[in-house]
Symmetry: none
Subunit: 200 residues, 4 copies
DNA sequence: GATGAATGAGGTTTCATTCAT
DNA sequence: AATGAATGAAACCTCATTCAT
């Protein structure tokens, strides 16, 4: 009966995941070595295998973690927002800015897709993306019903555009680092979602 | 002296680039082997080195080629369009649909970014992206000046949003294959760029 | 001081040896991990090192244990047999059938020899084999003196053949599992050891 | 079109197999490194993978090679022998002495079996062994029909004993090196196969 | 006395790149 | 100019062994 039990294990696991996140984000999955991750996490390469079965699973786990945070952001902001439109803007901004996701985290998703050749992973990933688009569409529909979002465009299409926008912005940010225009772009998109003022 | 040679060299170079494009797109840069590219191009692994100094430079060249095509699309559609707004829509759609870009080509950009760790490449890449955003911004400004694009939002911001949207859509398409909503999303974005109808 | 301890130590030692025997037999020395042995023995990997200096020595000890049982079989059956010839048959059959040796135990020897590269072990092993052949030869010689074993063939040679026969049968059994022909082969060999009936 | 084609490839393949045979025999499969084999064969470790997909397949190939030689010995000696009994003796002796098999080759078989855990290999192996026993049994039956082999014992059982004897002798030889008694043991076995002289 | 987390050496395998032919 | 065999540098992963708790 060791006393380092769960607490220690969780700490290690988290440290490895964080290290992997950073490394994968910075250099890409393939170019990141287990040794680098290990060093970043403060242990030896072999030790990682006590916490993760292999490099691929480590990647998967890091990704799942990120996805989880994503969902949480979604839920939190939906709840905190005054209106669906507001929620969309908040989610977009937080997706970009929050430490949770970070420029790197985006990269991660990027990298994950990079695990092409692994059909299971791709499918898994695709399902997740669909879920996000679906949730967003529901939000848009709410907004349209409530009158805060223009009704002349299809909710599903707008949702897809919104998700793509965020995805693209994170991708650009990856290359250019923190970019002031990012949030502005989100706000602009939100602005464009508003219905035109009644003519009268 | 090298009369036939030049012709031959160009043919070979092109074949290699095309093969590399397809391979990089399909499996990613790291996971693509020189042997695969060679086979696809119809020559031996060693022969590639007569045309390109190494794998990294081959990637670079393939990328530049793709960017060139991109610019051409930009120019062509700008010229053919009735208005800047129209141009933006056309560019977006063609960026998504045309064989030029294709799922693979997008992938390529994907991969290229993957050449992180190579600072020179990243910077190069960043410059290119800025150029695209810049051109787009110019187009938007034109549209605003001409009244086809709403003036209440900053041109640079809208341009960034537009580029990000395309980027994101291509990324999503990568995962889900040809997606009917893609073009609709572009059209929706264009629609939202229009100024609200005068109150009258 | 170490009253209970000794008992405990012996129990642990035996458990580890048994676990190692089974594991080595089943997967081979090299492919067996200390962790597997530990789990089978009901303790942790590290604990084994309190009872054995290392994996190699554990193997050695397991082997010696098996050899000891072998000698015991030899002695017991020699004593119980009506004649040297009878003793040979009994030893052969028991070497094959008894739980002591069992398919696994044979395997063990197999594995042990596998510790080639370790000269000390090989020599040790060779000495043991010579001892067995020697004892068998003595038995044969007894039989020849008593007239139950044919005298036209050299005792040492017959002994070698007998030992080899058993060795080979155990090896074959390893691959095919319990084989009905095994014992029959031993009996046939014994039969052939008998002198031809006097011409009269 | 290289000119080193088939000839060179065959030479290399053979060299690697021979090197592997020796190494596997000497140190066992698990303890033999690809680097050792490569050095023995006169190339680099990586180069082996141009000729064999992996270590396991190399082992398999070496084994198959040895089995092939075995069958050839069987056929040759059967043809050259004056009688089935004579054939058995010749096969036994050649199995022991000839360079074809060699102490090492036996070891090989040994090692191969050592590839436990690979069910396919074990079964394959078992089938081969059965074939050998079967062929031997046929030979014995012939001898019994012709009167050169005693008829009071079952042919299948005698065949099993014979094969086991050789197997065991080769195993012992492995430990003790060239052993003068080996051949004598084979001859003794053959002698014992003879029918007792007619009473007259 | 026991645990099991950690290390570190070493093994197999992959590939970009070179170079004799 | 082209081939493709060969090299050699990693990379991932496994484990015997140690040691703080």
């Amino acid at each position: 009966m060791t006393k380092v039990t769960q607490e220690h294990i969780d700490a290690r696991t988290g440290a490895i995941q964080r290290a992997a996140l950073v490394a994968f984000a910075r250099k890409g999955y393939e170019r990141t070595t287990m040794a680098e991750i290990a060093e970043e996490a403060g242990l030896s390469a072999g030790a990682i295998y006590r916490y993760f079965p292999g490099k691929a699973q480590l990647l998967q786990s890091v990704f799942d973690e990120a996805v989880g945070r994503n969902s949480q952001v979604f839920a939190e902001e939906s709840a905190a927002a005054a209106s669906p439109l507001d929620a969309l803007g908040r989610i977009g901004v937080r997706s970009l800015d929050e430490a949770t996701i970070d420029a790197e985290c985006m990269e991660l998703e990027f990298v994950l897709t990079g695990v092409r050749g692994n059909e299971a992973t791709r499918d898994h990933h695709s399902v997740l993306r669909n879920a996000i688009v679906g949730s967003t569409a529901a939000l848009v529909r709410d907004g349209q019903a409530g009158g805060t979002i223009r009704r002349d465009l299809d909710a599903g299409v707008l949702a897809l555009a919104g998700v793509a926008l965020i995805l693209g912005l994170r991708m650009i940010r990856l290359e250019r680092g923190e970019e002031p225009g990012d949030e502005a772009a989100v706000h602009a998109f939100v602005e464009m979602l508003k219905p035109c003022p009644p003519a009268s």
